[in-house]
Symmetry: C2
Subunit: 163 residues, 2 copies
């Protein structure tokens, strides 16, 4: 059954008055902690065969760190992963993909935890807490619609993974 990792981007700089939200980069601390998460993922023997990212800079930087650590061979930008993204659009992408055993998405809150709850229980309730550089691990069903038929095997804030 395919594994899905939902990874929230690392800590990003505050928004300057004149800066576009999409351009905010990771802070030095965000770069460091995200790097530690990426190395631990690989040390645990985890990789993915498709890494999709939100187009926003802080997400693309997070995805690049995951690539550099060896968690994925490369990354692909998917507009559906931008803030207030579209779960149906991502599900359409998923249906068009085949033969994947592990997929990772880098994106934003509250989208990622909302999507996870929808995949698990069919509807969001706002009761999953996903920290920056945190990870949700789901097992998707082989055949069924993943909405309401997925399982949660992992949810971790970075402090309980890398410390």
């Amino acid at each position: 059954m395919p594994t899905l990792y939902l990874i929230r981007h690392g800590l990003a700089a505050d928004r300057d008055r004149d800066e576009n939200d999409a351009d905010r980069p990771l802070t030095p601390s965000g770069l460091q902690k995200t790097g530690q998460v990426a190395l631990r993922l690989v040390a645990c023997g985890l990789t993915c065969d498709r890494l999709l990212t939100s187009p926003l800079i802080r997400a693309q930087q997070t995805a690049q760190i995951l690539v550099d650590a060896g968690f994925a061979a490369d990354m692909q930008v998917l507009p559906a992963l931008a803030p207030a993204g579209s779960l149906p659009d991502w599900l359409a992408w998923l249906r068009s993909a085949s033969g994947l055993t592990a997929i990772a998405l880098v994106g934003h809150e509250p989208d990622l935890s909302t999507w996870a709850e929808t995949l698990l229980w069919g509807a969001p309730r706002g009761n999953l807490l996903l920290k920056k550089a945190g990870i949700i691990g789901l097992t998707l069903p082989e055949q069924d619609d993943p909405v309401g038929h997925s399982s949660l095997f992992w949810l971790t804030p970075p402090r309980l993974f890398i410390s």
Copy 2:
């Protein structure tokens, strides 16, 4: 808000034909892995001020390992945590307790993941996967009924915590 850790007992011996299920001890591998989990919990700065355990031997051994590691000062056996245990009985215990900031329960599956889903979403769906010596971390509401009003901040199998 109080934190609740639901901890599944470690790997136990297979049941002999003549042996009572309640008396099955942890295996050497179960003892070792549970010990590693306990040490990591303490290394992450986590402790609890009340540790409750199922009366079964494999659960009491797991709880004792947590005490020996310094995760809790001592443990208390609660019959409601035995297999096919009673969430209402545990909730009655919770209402009678006060001033606790972190509570840990050592018990069995599918009870622990069923209880977690009930606390999170009001009803179980069977979509949380809790491995032996795995941990679920919930945040309980300060005032509201915890059923349907708790949040999940952590779910980990041992391999993604101690490795």
